[in-house]
Symmetry: C2
């Protein structure tokens, strides 16, 4: 039977079987490089892909296989790309985490990320090595439902907003600053970017502001010119939002328009109507809004900092009602975000995010509970973050390979603690602020149900406890609940087992706890970490390894470093 006939047959079958059999292979050739760019109207060096910043948006359909041939065009640095939210079933080596799932791709070399996007949703991708995310290595990844399938909501058009934060100091220097003794903190970002665009030292809404900021004078063709969302009146639009920020927690609002949350991290939500929404780094959402306002006006879409005392102006773009001229500025001031430290507001917002009826439910019971205390510490005078007093240091050999091949010298196999001291007072600075370095690998029994309790605590200084958005690779988890103070056995009664949302990122609020449940059903070694990039750089993460013995042959290209390279080159295992 000729291949043309096979194809025809396949397509005929597809019509009957909802296109599943005709899922596409989508091929991309990407080159990562540094380039001059002016994300916020100030020229800087950014990491770009194929000359673009942010990187190209990938659009695919659920079931498609992506082949991204990534060539490293950096002069001396390795690179990887993590496909944030894609679970990588069967392809754990394609997760794009240096030192965990693969060796960093060397300058001049090409690595093919080949993986299936099995679930429709809003995703993004980003660098996962050093501070390459902060340097600008990110882009959008949008997975539409399979042909013939339908989303459980209706919309007439869609927009995509990729949010990030931007510093004028280069990422390399920021890395050195963070690793110095005494540590030099990177500070608040200079600018918030929407789709890689922001404005420094001027504001689109200066006329409404009491500050001395001047009105931006942009032609629209600048690299920093804001996107304009052109809409027709009386339609419903889907706004896809992803936050790739290195640090900032955000709040987004559309002037005069309500939004209805319908998707988060690639999972459907029970529709939830809000006038503004919090978005933490690593989270994605879809919201619907209806253009039911006065059509002769334009409206602000605003993005503001929350959770840290802001020192960064609000980012603004314009929602333009066609046929109103896009150059008419909205005649009302931009939306005002909730106070940065109104955590009651934040908790209330997050706890109302629930799974759409009919979504997969969590197993009723857990097989293992791991309680992870988040603390800021000192090691030999260096400021670090630690989990149960272990500050993560990544090894030269990726865990996936070293665990798969039993290379015991590749990392410290000491079991990290499952809990922390009974007497530890999470509301105060630790009496002993010292910590130790470690590998932070939790070996999970395959197909067991794991509860993780993320426990926040006081940081080094008294009366400081920060927000940390935790992101899990290779899985979605159910967010069973949020609580204040120290988690205890009674806290479990607060768990929502009825309609907890499935997410890949969940936040812990100051001094609070967050309970997650997931099934360790994806063979691989998976990062679980605070998505604030400088916090991860300072050790705030662990690794979950499960069913690694079931991982099929890892491509050699993912193993060409450290002890796995040594092993393969010495032909010890074959």
């Amino acid at each position: 039977m000729g291949s043309a006939r096979v194809f025809l047959l396949c397509c005929i079958l597809a019509i009957f079987f909802h296109s599943v059999l005709c899922a596409k292979s989508r091929h991309f050739k990407w080159e990562v490089e540094y380039m001059h760019w002016a994300p916020d109207c100030v020229e800087a060096v950014v990491m770009g892909i194929n000359g673009q910043f942010p990187g190209p948006t990938i659009r695919a359909r659920a079931g498609d296989t992506l082949h991204i041939e990534l060539t490293n065009k950096l002069p001396t640095e390795g690179v990887v790309i993590h496909w944030h939210g894609i679970r990588q079933f069967g392809t754990p080596w394609a997760d794009g985490t240096a030192s965990i799932s693969q060796c960093a791709i060397n300058p001049g070399e090409t690595f093919v990320y080949r993986f299936k996007v099995d679930k429709a949703g809003t995703y993004f991708y980003h660098g996962h090595y050093g501070m390459q995310r902060l340097a600008g290595l990110y882009g959008s990844l949008i997975v539409e439902v399979t042909d013939g399938e339908k989303e459980p909501f209706h919309y007439d058009g869609e927009f995509n907003l990729l949010l990030s934060d931007w510093w004028h100091k280069g990422s390399h220097e920021q890395e050195v600053d963070l690793s110095s003794n005494p540590m030099r903190w990177i500070g608040e970002p200079q600018t918030l970017l929407i789709n890689g665009r922001g404005q420094f030292n001027c504001s689109l809404a200066a006329l409404f502001s009491n500050s001395s900021s001047s009105q931006c004078n942009l032609r629209g063709s600048e690299q920093c010119a804001p996107n304009i969302l052109h809409v027709l009146p009386n339609k419903t639009y889907r706004l896809r939002i992803a936050s790739s920020t290195a640090l900032a927690s955000l709040n987004l609002a559309i002037g005069n328009h309500k939004m209805t949350l319908v998707e988060a991290d690639g999972n459907y939500l029970e529709p939830y109507s809000v006038s503004n929404m919090d978005i933490y780094s690593g989270e994605t959402y879809s919201v619907l809004f209806t253009t039911d306002q006065e059509g002769s006006k334009n409206y602000w879409i605003s993005v503001s900092v929350r959770g840290r005392e802001p020192n960064t102006p609000q980012a603004l773009i314009i929602l333009n009602y066609i046929p109103t001229s896009a150059s008419n500025l909205p005649n009302l001031p931009p939306p005002v975000a909730p106070l940065w430290n109104d955590y009651n507001y934040s908790r209330s917002f997050s706890s109302k995010i629930l799974a759409l009826r009919g979504s997969p439910k969590p197993p009723k019971k857990h097989d293992r509970r791991i309680i992870l205390l988040n603390t800021q510490n000192l090691i030999d005078g260096y400021t670090k973050w630690a989990i149960n007093n272990v500050s993560l240091v990544l090894p030269a050999t990726p865990y996936l390979g070293s665990i798969r091949y039993g290379l015991n010298n590749a990392f410290d196999h000491k079991r990290p603690p499952e809990n922390f001291g009974l007497n530890y007072d999470v509301s105060k600075p630790a009496p002993n602020q010292n910590s130790t370095y470690g590998s932070g690998v939790y070996m999970l029994n395959f197909n067991t149900t794991i509860d993780v309790i993320l426990q926040n605590a006081n940081a080094l200084r008294a009366n400081v406890s920060e927000i940390h958005p935790w992101h899990l690779h290779g899985h979605d988890f159910w967010v069973l609940g949020y609580g204040e103070g120290r988690f205890n056995e009674k806290s479990e009664t607060q768990f929502n087992l009825k309609n907890p949302p499935l997410r890949n990122t969940a936040v812990i609020f100051p001094y609070g706890w967050t309970a997650l449940r997931f099934v360790a059903d994806n063979p691989g070694a998976w990062a679980f970490h605070c998505h604030i990039e400088p916090h991860l750089h300072m050790g705030m993460g662990v690794v979950f390894a499960e069913g690694v013995q079931h991982v099929k042959k890892i491509p050699n290209e993912a193993l060409a470093c450290g002890l796995t390279a040594k092993m393969l080159m010495n032909n010890v295992h074959k």
Copy 2:
């Protein structure tokens, strides 16, 4: 026979046989990292080794074997170190050139450089990947004569001066600037450094200056405080000098003191007395000076820019006659260097550098002559340097490995040209300024005598021809002569075959040629390139490969990248 007895016997033999048999192994553990430092009183990020900038000075004796265990502590960058001037007989994989002799060492990994320093002399080491030399990765390597041997000159004490140049813009951004279209030139350095120390925005000799520079006010404990050379009257001192500059050609003088050149690039010179000396990047010298001046005074040692219109202040340190107080500034103005563009002076200085009587002489005839035209070009609008119209692009697989194992896809095997067009006018910009990328590998027959004629030419702009100091790895060469204009058959009559100096670095003057001769007797793949780091970054180099089939087993660690890693991991060759 017990090892103690062997040792004893060895030592006894050594007394008779000039210690040759007791040559030492010297072990070093180094960590390369970025750190905050203020080389010129302005805080910046530098590349340091074990927390030092410049890196530690190595002192060894001829015949010793060095073991340098280099651990890469950079967050995301590879690293290598080149041992400049060490010929690496039998250890071509230890030459420390990324993409040529080895794979860059990945972050977190350790590579052991193990090699013999067979010849006494003044050397240095430096990064040879991207622009890591400009970033500060360098240090001194001093090889003393074997116990019992004597230098062919006398001195009472010695000092070591490692010269470099320093920019306030970081090396990563400089790389991007150079690789941009249009190219952005790095400009003249902000500061010249002597042993990693210089002064920006102030001068030690402001009182003698007409400029507005202010007098430096330094306590002496600062990272940028100048070295002071304390000398006794009426003694002879050896001053070792090495230039690791990324760009600058230098001139050094000692106020009121003559200097006698006695060694260059690890080879003895016929003593040559000068009042100031030119030093090009990649060159090393030993000079003797006698403290025969008024002992109640101190004297300036000055380092100035030559060969480019200077925009960098002179670097100064103080020669202090004990017991005069070191804080007494010299009462005369610092030495004035020859005019930056007095190339007659430069040519005259260089052509008087001759080998010490009794030094090895060059073979009388060459087996092959390679003429290398140096041009500045454009490729798709990018500014490049090219050799015979080929601009060097380094491959992902190091040449040494790919040639040794016959991996034909690792680089473009097209033979680069041996000469350039008869009609090419070196005195004018090329009518066609386009060029092409290439691998630039010249395969040399083993043990043949190679003449290289480096031919300078006009750069892109009319009436511009720059100085280029060319450095050869793995060999010394004889500098047979310098000439002006285009080299032709008659030029050969000017060759000095009697006492040409052995060097590893030789300069070409504007619009001139320089003739070199060497014997291709060292199995390996060897870089030959302009030692101006941004010029090499822009393609100004070639590779000489000889006798690679005689190279013994290359350590796997040097091959763990590109196609050699692939080959070894796939177990294709064994």
